[in-house]
Symmetry: C2
């Protein structure tokens, strides 16, 4: 194809796209109009009567009556200059970039990109609105590859679309040390990747969070005359994602909330790692999604049925009150003559011989990593087009700002993540005279105080709002009819909740999602929490009922190993505040750490307001709460966290009566304490003082680091029990008496 | 009611039940015939045209044509002697036992027992086959209360049925220290409770495991002339269970497997803790289950529609190729005039005033905890009846044993849990000359060797069989048509998999389920693994790809904190074998620990067979692999686990060349090492030798305990990276050079 002709096509497409963007009221993107030779057949979802298209690689000739004038020219150009259509060439470029990168790395997953290249092409080339040179443009459409192992699909698309994060050399460095193209999509490595996927099912739940964020912000900030928030969230998920429980949780919520701008492509390829999905996955996925309140469309030929894919997207956009699942039946490894439609193409390089055979089969004469010039030029319009989209939106925002300065300022702070000046002044403070209270209640005071000053704070509980104390009193429920509200009702879906919050956090830097359940049920959502930590999503996990102190519900509900298990996790803050001031401190830390999630372990039971606790202390992770020693030489150091800090304080009182020099240290966050200077750490826990006793109602695992081999860690290294809390504390030896005895033993 | 009359009824029921048990070929339990006055209306599932029954507390009078002779007498008796029916009296007894126990404890969940008492009564009194005096009788029907918070329902039923585990004083000790009636059902505390529930969704998945076990054993051991394995699995689950992703995972598998003898009651009461389920749960549950391949029936009046419940059970039993969900619409807290149908009755005591009002409303004149004599007598038949059931089955088994001695011996070992003599001789052994191999491959050699000698070994992977290396080569797949096979295909459903395995493990002491995924994805199933540990389910978790050693898949797939997180968990063995002998040792330990689950962390990458490793060493948890010191005084001790043990060994070689006395210790299981004598521990890690270096490709959290404050722990306290494994090891400093340098630094 001569460069002039492709320019013609490119310009035509550009004109068609850009020229309509002024009329932003229409949420039905005009780019859906077929940009090449294909017409839009009538389509009616599952009842579609379109037979699967033949897999001919020639562009189908359509009856003249279906062709509109503007497209005829382009068709002519295409037919004259090239044997295969440019569209198909682009799709095959995606396939071969994936094949070549996996082959070079000798590691990776070529099957999905080969099967999903058509839908990928249509999304990134025809449907989605984005600006390659600013991957963080606020109003961009979001794309999530929930089947993250197929990341070469996304890298190829980002490359073609003109993102600087994925240049040719990045493709060649696929899965190599320090590259921008790791083995699964990682938002913190690759601008243009929205979230971190790979662990199956996370992506679809993230996408629900992204769509929730759009819906919420649109409801809060759009005006009758300015639609300032307006984008779609697209996701591709596979059979593996569908089998995971988290996807059902999140999808049930998406249906409940009626997230109409969430459009999910289910890559229905009948193959998973163990072979045909028939061996473990025979449910009717479409019917399940309908039962969850989704609109469902089946594209029977996802390999070459480009028009069907386009029509499905159009239909999906027309359904505004429900999310849409487009089940796209594809052939995994499409194009590979000997490995397509088999599990062998899922997760390994094709091998030189099969790559060759695939090149022949798809008539692909090019060198590895080659992007044909006409394809390159075709895609090149996305850079200017994306720039225009952003410029246009910026102009709209400027207008919005003039008309609605307060809303604009608030929205801006959500977009940029800049916290409002002086926000931390809203944090409540307490004195030892303040009434004793459970830290879960103190947490609610903080949440409600912060909600007034942080426009991006929103969240809720997994059906435990009245136990976790997470309701924001000045707001109603985020629901289908009231998406502007900020109390999110997640139902008993911890895993989906965590992952939805990751999506919210990664939607806009100023969105601060919090979510809640009993601390022990972090086990249900641990995979999502780990991704928060990895993807730098600053989610606040409000985890109440944080020990045997919850009492009668018994060992299934009593966390034991959970504090230790999170202290061992990278890039997360495990905070266990002891009273009001420490709870406020924990919130201050949590809000400030926008790239690190925080877990707040909070008590069910009442705790006294302790003298000596402070927000500043919490910010250092560990600090002296009380001390009657001098010269940094106490006889013994008592270390506690959360609900056991008052026990340590009580023991200290008794020991001091007996003439001992006793220091009480609150170790509210080990991670923050670790980050302090050596001098500070020495000032709190002097190396010379080996007489140390710790008390915490949880596993002693890891406490040797603090108390040393000569100290003693009081904790719980068995499962809990069902009984009133006070009784369990006593029976388990978590008492001031035990601390006193241990202190005497070690000092 | 005079005792004679109730005896009449009781005897009639007893006769009706016992007399038919000889004809064991019929799997349609004869006790389904209505034992009281009610007829069986025609019923056709969701299309039922029966309107909800009125909530009148009087027994409904039925047209004479619907009553058969045998029942007429009973009706007469009932009507003569009591205002309310005995049935209803029994149901109210259940309700008030729950109300009274929760009231006395001032803690607990009365709402579910009050709403589910009718189905509970029908199950335990009319439908289920069990022997109260031997809760472990092998062929009993299994009952699981997935909505475990409603445990007073089950305790009341066990009490009425005559189980010794729940006497009146136990009910009075509900939720108290040391009682048999903890706040959620715990199989290890209360004989008669099959599994441990409370964390929502676990129970339904456990039930799938129980039903799988029955199906599997029946397929293996039943003969055309003797049906020796033949029981149902019943489960009650609530809205909370339904929202949890795990229930969808497990239910999808149950549908796929066609587990016809699994019958689940969905307590559809429209209330969860946060209020009406409308706020977060509006999906069509029935349609979802149909999409999962279940038979679905809706009982619209679960409060008083006894006949509808009975008919539904009959219909469910008639459907033999699908599990059945009976959606039973109930009123939470039924009978409480002011709190029924509200969240306030879900999880708190009613309070004295409302208890009084409920007594009045249900015309209940009795003292707290009182079981009316007629109710007591009515239920008393279950003790002799249960004894007969077991005796009968024992006779059948004796006959079976004569005809099929080998099968009988095998089945017996599964029933009793007694391992076949000499089984451990099947474990493969290795020498340093054996070829280097990944421990995941060595694991497969062990699994295949053990499958030959352990009749109860069965399991599989969450769609990673070819990566986890878990296929048993001499067996096919456990599928609908081949339930006698032992390779279970779980699909990508880790959480459901773990919980199904808990059900299998708790079905029979000799069933040894194993399940597999990548180690990092224990995060998806952690709640199930914790329940394994708590419920004493000896599941073997085969967790491969156990570190950055998996390479290119990157940080989403690379475990870091996982070893530490399980070392902190009570009652679980975390094993990380280094080579063939250690893998065999890990399997020996795992098989022997039938009341403690084991997690085997296994490498993707090849590892050498090390001199000095042994099965016996593994059994001690930690042991000396090599040493050139004398007098228990090495210059330095190098400690490693799994794939880093060879790195420690390499470093030792170098250090020894430089004249150092170096000990290499394998710390394959911290828990087992902790359990050794102080003398043994001192012989491996002498207190006087503080020069210690550890190396493990995971978090260093917790290693201070081993290396002490003067030692050094080499590990990874950040997330991993996507690159070839060797490269990551080098970049992360997990090398023999680093160990050597550290050894020089500390010694």
């Amino acid at each position: 194809m001569a460069s002039t002709s492709s320019l013609t096509l490119s310009q035509a497409l550009l004109a068609r796209t850009i020229s309509h963007h002024g009329s932003a009221q229409s949420s039905d993107h005009v780019r859906l109009s077929p940009p090449t030779t294909f017409s839009l057949p009538s389509f009616s979802g599952l009842k579609s009567t379109n037979p699967p298209k033949s897999s001919s690689r020639r562009p189908r000739r359509l009856p003249a009556r279906n062709q509109r004038q503007v497209r005829a020219a382009a068709v002519e150009t295409l037919d004259v200059t090239t044997e295969t259509s440019l569209l198909e060439k682009s799709v095959n470029t995606i396939r071969f970039l994936a094949i070549d990168a996996v082959e070079k790395a000798n590691s990776g997953h070529p099957g999905l990109p080969m099967g999903c290249a058509p839908m990928g092409h249509i999304l990134y080339d025809e449907v989605m609105r984005y600006n390659p040179k600013n991957p963080y443009w606020f109003n961009r459409d979001r794309f999530v590859l929930s089947a993250g192992h197929g990341c070469m699909l996304q890298y190829a698309l980002l490359h073609l679309a003109g993102y600087d994060s994925v240049l040719e050399e990045d493709l060649k460095q696929f899965r190599q040390w320090g590259s921008k193209t790791p083995g699964h999509p990682e938002n913190f490595e690759t601008p243009g990747v929205e979230v971190t996927t790979g662990p199956l099912g996370q992506g679809i739940a993230n996408a629900v969070g992204l769509a929730l964020a759009e819906r919420h912000l649109a409801a809060r900030y759009n005006k009758p005359d300015v639609e300032i928030v307006d984008h779609y969230t697209y996701v591709i998920l596979g059979d593996g994602c569908q089998m995971e429980g988290i996807s059902n949780e999140a999808s049930s919520l998406a249906g409940h909330w009626g997230l109409g701008k969430l459009i999910a492509f289910y890559d229905d390829n009948h193959i998973s790692i163990d072979g045909d999905t028939e061996i473990a996955f025979t449910e009717d996925v479409g019917a399940r999604f309908e039962s969850l309140g989704w609109h469902v469309i089946w594209v029977k030929n996802g390999n070459t049925g480009y028009d069907d894919i386009r029509a499905a997207i159009k239909e999906a956009k027309a359904v505004k009150d429900k999310p849409t699942l487009i089940k796209v039946t594809t052939t995994i490894g499409y194009g590979s003559p000997n490995k397509a439609n088999s599990y062998s193409v899922h997760g390994s390089a094709l091998g030189a011989k099969e790559v060759e055979a695939t090149r022949k089969n798809l008539a692909w004469p090019y060198e590895p990593f080659h992007v044909p010039e006409d394809v390159k030029k075709h895609w090149s319009r996305h850079v200017p087009e994306g720039a225009s989209l952003e410029t246009e939106w910026n102009a709209k925002f400027a207008e919005y700002e003039k008309k609605y300065p307060e809303d604009a300022a608030e929205l801006k702070s959500i977009i940029t993540g800049e916290l409002p000046a002086g926000w931390e002044k809203a944090l409540p403070t307490y004195t030892p005279e303040s009434p004793a209270d459970a830290t879960r209640n103190l947490s609610q005071q903080n949440l409600n105080a912060l909600a007034k000053v942080l426009p991006g704070l929103l969240g809720g509980s997994a059906d435990l709002a009245s136990s976790n104390m997470t309701l924001l009193k000045m707001f109603g429920d985020f629901q289908k009819g009231t998406p502007e509200e900020r109390n999110v009702r997640f139902g008993v879906r911890e895993h989906g909740m965590g992952s939805i919050c990751n999506g919210i956090a990664l939607h806009s830097p100023g969105l601060i999602p919090y979510c809640a359940t009993f601390f022990v049920f972090t086990d249900y959502m641990r995979a999502a929490i780990r991704i928060s930590a990895l993807c730098e999503g600053g989610v606040i996990y409000v985890m109440t009922h944080d020990s045997i102190g919850l009492g009668e519900d018994g060992p299934t509900h009593q966390p034991i190993e959970h504090l230790a298990s999170f202290r061992a996790m990278p890039n997360i803050l495990m905070l266990r505040p002891a009273d009001g001031n420490e709870t406020a401190g924990a919130y201050k830390v949590a809000v400030l750490n926008r790239k690190r999630p925080s877990i707040l372990a909070l008590s069910r039971q009442k705790l006294p307001q302790l003298p000596g606790t402070s927000i500043e202390g919490v910010e250092k992770g560990g600090y002296i709460v009380s001390d009657n020693s001098s010269g940094n030489k106490p006889d013994v150091i008592l270390v506690g966290t959360g609900s056991e800090l008052p026990i340590a304080a009580d023991a200290a009182k008794e020991l001091r009566k007996e003439g001992k020099a006793v220091r009480v240290v609150s170790l509210v966050s080990w991670e923050l304490f670790d980050e302090q200077s050596d001098a500070y750490k020495e000032s709190v826990l002097p190396a010379a003082v080996t007489a140390r006793v710790s008390i915490e109602a949880g596993s002693t695992f890891g406490w040797e680091k603090i108390v040393g081999s000569k100290g003693k860690a009081i904790g719980i290294d068995r499962f809990g029990a069902s009984a009133p809390a006070g009784k369990i504390y006593k029976e388990f030896g978590l008492t001031a008496e035990a601390v006193i005895a241990a202190a005497k033993e070690v000092s």
